[in-house]
C-alpha cells in the first residue's frame, strides 16, 4: 500500500450549476485508473452526496480523495455551521434543507444514510460554529 494518488478539489459554496463536478471528475479518474464499475459507483455516489451537502448546508469546502490499491479514502471538510445532533442528522428523512433547495430535488434527508450505505467506514466529526469533516472509506 505504499503508493497512493491524491485528488483534491475546492467545492464552491454558491454555485449550484457546478455542484457535483468534483464527484464526476473523481469518477472519471477512477475509471482511467481501471477500478471496477461497482467500486466507482459507490465512491462517486457517496462523494456526490457529501459534496452537495457542503454546497447546500456549509457554503462549500474541500474534498480530498486518496486512492490506494486496496481502498479509497474520501475526506470532505468544511467550515460551515456544523451538525448539532449527528445521530438525528443520520436518520433517513431528516433534513433542514430550505424550500428553494427542495424544489431542485434535494432535501429528502437521504444523503447521509446513502453515504453510510455505500461506504465501508464513515466517521463524522463536527463542531457547531466551526465546521464538519466527514471521512469515508471504500474498500476495493
Amino acid at each position: 500500500m505504499a503508493d497512493s494518488v491524491r485528488l483534491e478539489y475546492m467545492i464552491d459554496g454558491d454555485n449550484f450549476t457546478s455542484a457535483g463536478e468534483a464527484s464526476v471528475m473523481v469518477k472519471k479518474s477512477l475509471r482511467q485508473m481501471g477500478f471496477d464499475p461497482e467500486t466507482i459507483r459507490k465512491v462517486s455516489v457517496a462523494m456526490y452526496e457529501g459534496e452537495i451537502n457542503m454546497v447546500i448546508h456549509a457554503q462549500g469546502g474541500k474534498a480530498t480523495v486518496d486512492v490506494y490499491d486496496d481502498k479509497i479514502v474520501i475526506v470532505l471538510a468544511d467550515r460551515g455551521p456544523g451538525i448539532p445532533d449527528i445521530e438525528l442528522a443520520m436518520q433517513a428523512g431528516y433534513s433542514t434543507a430550505p424550500d428553494n433547495i427542495r424544489s431542485l430535488g434535494f432535501g429528502a434527508g437521504m444523503g447521509l444514510p446513502n453515504m453510510k450505505k455505500y461506504t465501508d467506514e464513515m466517521t463524522i466529526e463536527s463542531e457547531v460554529g466551526v465546521g464538519t469533516t466527514i471521512t469515508m472509506v471504500v474498500n476495493v
Binding site: 449550484f16 457535483g20 459507483r41 462517486s44 456526490y48 452537495i52 431542485l104 430535488g105 444523503g111 446513502n114
Partner: protein, 108 residues
C-alpha cells in the same frame, strides 16, 4: 434491450443520444435525487420530471443507461447540452411516469 430500441418502442423524443447502444437492464422512477442515488441500479432507465442540471450529475453517478423526462416537463437547453457532454442519453415523452413505467415493463 438497448437504449435505441427502447426509445423507438416507446416513441420517445430524443434530446441527447450520445451512447444509444448501451443496454438497459432495469427501471427506476422518482424525483427526489437522494432516493434515486440510493435506489436506482446501474444500467437502469430513470424516469423523472426533475429537469435541473443536477439530474445529469445524478444520472452520471448512478450509471443510468438513459433518462426519460415524463410529461414533457420543461428542460433548459443548458441541461440538454450538459447531458450531451457527459454522455447521458436523454429523452422526453408526453406520457406520465406511470404510463412510461408500465410500457417499459413490457420490454425489460
Amino acid at each position: 434491450m438497448n437504449v435505441y430500441k427502447l426509445s423507438e418502442a416507446l416513441s420517445l423524443t430524443p434530446l441527447a443520444m450520445p451512447d444509444v447502444d448501451r443496454e438497459v437492464t432495469s427501471c427506476y422512477t422518482g424525483d427526489l435525487l437522494s432516493w434515486v442515488m440510493g435506489r436506482a441500479s446501474a444500467d437502469c432507465v430513470w424516469v423523472t420530471i426533475m429537469t435541473n442540471i443536477n439530474t445529469v450529475a445524478v444520472a452520471t453517478l448512478v450509471d443510468a443507461s438513459m433518462v426519460i423526462i415524463a410529461e414533457n416537463a420543461e428542460i433548459a437547453p443548458e441541461v440538454v447540452e450538459r447531458a450531451r457532454e457527459k454522455g447521458v442519453n436523454l429523452y422526453t415523452s408526453p406520457l406520465d411516469a406511470y404510463a412510461l413505467c408500465a410500457a417499459i415493463s413490457r420490454y425489460l
